[in-house]
């Protein structure tokens, strides 16, 4: 009897595994390969995302943003009358799959360039392949070391991580003029002990020394553990005037909750890096009573410029919530790619795309706060940022203070 049950069990277990594999594959979108180059042939853009691995929470909204941008461009007639075909693939931030997805996009789909790449684990794996293929990567998760000095294949579509710390400190210093912090403030920098975060911290320390900020560094537990009590205790002990950080939203929310219950100053200025929260997270933090939290923003999503208005329209057309964190990350990649296609002309082979984007400069119809530019010396792309806050009184997103210029010292 038991033997019969066990044989049945084996069959059913196999069926369950099949169901699981089908469910897992739901994460990846379909997409067509490149066709023959006739008059109706589209430009092909690859989208390589982690839709099922550790970076899925950040990558999935970005993939929706990229899709919305491409659909929007196609809806408005495409690029010089040609549609853009977007081929999105999921690599789960798994090294073997990162390589195979890249190869598929390059060889089977004939992509002119690859966008996405939100996870910092993807870039180091893909870059050597892209360099060999002379392929351009429009990359959102680029560690600063790939931009300074610039790697010929890596074009960052988010703010250079090594420049975000100095920008955060510049924002804090701008608050000194408003009397919200002392002229020579004592600032805590909360960071993860990851290679890219440590690298960014060094740049932050150098800037702090340059402008006379007393910087106290506080190491956070690894990403997403939510155990922020000791971190906030260390900040209390340090008696700081402001905080800068490179934390993901979950950890920021955990830290703010600790601050709220332990009586820390809930109006203390706190600037976080660009992945530290979209409008929805800012709203939640404001709802917890923290009035000083701001996050570095690379794209204007208020709808008060032509590019920003189109951004909102495109997201709406695709049923994507603009409040969702990270949709703008993919959207800006799609718009950059479309403008490069227009300059490059059809068929825009990978090498030509790469040489075209290497001299690219555009404000993207003022979707960005300044020019998005690439040159021989600098592949940062985003040159100007602002700091987004949630105004609890009006229930709206606002940009606090002046725009901050990100400067690469060559």
């Amino acid at each position: 009897m038991l033997g019969v049950r066990i044989r049945r069990a084996g069959r059913l277990a196999c069926a369950a595994i099949a169901v699981g594999l089908i469910a897992a594959s739901c994460g990846s979108d379909g997409g067509g390969g490149g066709g023959a180059a006739d008059a109706s042939s589209p430009f092909v853009l690859g989208g390589q995302f982690d839709l099922s691995g550790i970076a899925r929470a950040a990558s999935t909204p970005a993939s929706k943003g990229l899709q919305a941008a491409v659909d929007g461009v196609n809806r408005r007639g495409g690029v010089d009358g040609r549609k853009i075909e977007l081929v999105i693939r999921d690599d789960g931030s798994n090294t073997a799959r990162i390589t195979s997805v890249y190869r598929e996009l390059v060889t089977s789909s004939n992509a002119s360039a690859i966008a996405g790449l939100v996870s910092s684990q993807q870039t180091p794996v893909v870059v050597p392949l892209a360099e060999r293929d002379k392929m351009a990567l429009i990359d959102a998760g680029t560690p600063g070391s790939f931009i300074q000095p610039p790697n010929p294949s890596v074009f960052s579509s988010s703010a250079n991580q090594n420049l975000q710390g100095p920008a955060q400190l510049a924002y804090i210093m701008s608050l000194a003029g408003q009397g919200k912090v002392p002229a020579k403030p004592r600032v805590a920098a909360i960071y993860y002990a990851t290679p890219s975060s440590t690298e960014a911290l060094e740049a932050t320390k150098a800037y702090a020394t340059e402008v006379g900020i007393d910087l106290v560094t506080v190491e956070s537990p690894p990403v997403g553990q939510g155990a922020m009590g000791p971190v906030m205790s260390a900040i209390r002990s340090a008696n700081v005037d402001a905080i800068v950080s490179g934390l993901i939203p979950t950890d920021v929310i955990a830290a703010v909750k600790v601050a709220a219950t332990s009586g820390l100053d809930m109006s203390m200025p706190w600037a976080n890096y660009s992945f530290g929260g979209g409008p929805e997270v800012l709203k939640e933090i404001a709802g917890l009573g923290h009035t000083g939290y701001a996050v570095l923003a690379t794209v204007n999503i208020l709808g008060d410029t032509p590019g920003s208005k189109t951004f909102l329209e495109d997201l709406k057309a695709n049923g994507v919530d603009p409040m969702e964190q990270g949709v703008e990350v993919g959207y800006i990649q799609g718009i950059i790619a479309a403008e490069v296609f227009a300059k490059c002309g059809f068929p825009c082979e990978p090498e030509k795309f790469r040489s075209t984007i290497s001299t690219f400069s555009s404000s993207l119809d003022d979707l960005a706060f300044g020019p998005v530019a690439y040159s021989d010396q600098d592949h940062s792309g985003i040159g100007v940022v602002k700091f987004a806050k949630w105004d609890a009184a009006t229930g709206n997103l606002t940009y606090a203070g002046d725009a901050v210029k990100l400067e690469v010292k060559v």
Partner: protein, 287 residues
């Protein structure tokens, strides 16, 4: 003084979270022999359900519904997957639990997408101790953890179903031939595992936010279960308190990464001296 109170508050909260995560894991292991890697994902599912029902039902009503839903889900998981692993090796059962975890993640993605959600604690009141403040919600969480451990210890060690569950874990085949209703007993264990995971998910998520990273707490809490002894229910809570204290103080003094390493070094040292954990028992093997 103020920092000391803050650290104690963190220990109380972490101990409650670790304890609630581990007690379900230990009950399942104690009664079915399954070391479930889906426990963290059940916890995550519970948090998502609570974030959906809390606005209309409030904290306690939402918690009751969440516990009910995840307990039923425990039975469904058993009936559709783990039931068919009867007689299989522990390794095969662990692999199946990984598969269950994968499916749970996909279901959450389909229902709630990847946007973060939130859960409010039952109260924002605090207990003033000198210049420091201890949140009532942390004290309540620890109280729930102690209560759950007490009830489950009674269930497993002082009732007939508990005795049968232990017998089942000891030898599945013999339990079948003895005429025990093994599926009913295993289903009950999955109900308990689901219910405790639901409570743990709510308690953990109310301190941070409801995201996909919630499931990782299962791995973070696991050393506490090993420390307490994988087969000891009270040991899982005591191990959680010890680990939470070491984790908090080490993180405060040494920073996040070194602090985490201290936890694992401590666990290693304890296991070298006491291979079955602080409260585990040496098992005799008949040759």
């Amino acid at each position: 003084m103020r920092v000391a109170v803050d650290l104690v508050a963190n220990v109380v909260l972490l101990a409650a979270i670790f304890g609630l995560v581990n007690v379900g894991l230990v009950v399942l292991y104690r009664s079915t022999g399954v070391l479930s890697f889906a426990q963290g994902h059940l916890l995550m599912f519970g948090a998502y359900i609570m974030s959906t029902v809390q606005p209309s039902l409030g904290y306690w009503g939402g918690l009751a519904v969440t516990v009910g839903v995840i307990a039923v889900m425990g039975v469904v998981i058993y009936a559709t997957t783990m039931r068919f692993m009867l007689g299989k090796s522990e390794f095969e059962k662990v692999v199946m639990s990984f598969l269950v975890a994968l499916i749970i993640t996909q279901v959450i993605d389909l229902i709630w997408s990847t946007q973060s959600r939130s859960i409010s604690p039952p109260t924002s009141a605090v207990i003033g101790i000198g210049a420091g403040r201890l949140p009532w919600s942390s004290v309540i969480s620890l109280g729930i953890a102690v209560g759950v451990v007490g009830v489950l210890t009674f269930l497993i060690f002082r009732t007939v179903p508990g005795l049968r569950m232990r017998a089942l874990a000891h030898n599945e085949t013999l339990a079948v031939y003895s005429g025990m209703r093994v599926h009913r007993l295993s289903g009950l264990a999955w109900v308990v595992a689901g219910a405790t995971a639901a409570i743990a998910g709510v308690v953990f998520a109310q301190t941070s936010s409801v995201t996909f990273s919630l499931a990782d707490i299962g791995l973070l809490a696991f050393p506490a279960a090993v420390l307490g002894g994988l087969k000891s229910i009270p040991g899982s809570l005591i191990g959680s308190v010890v680990l939470a204290a070491i984790f908090t103080v080490a993180n405060y003094l040494l920073g996040g990464v070194l602090g985490g390493s201290v936890v694992y070094l401590f666990m290693l040292a304890v296991l070298l001296v006491l291979p079955f954990g602080l409260f585990g028992r040496r098992t005799a093997q008949r040759l």
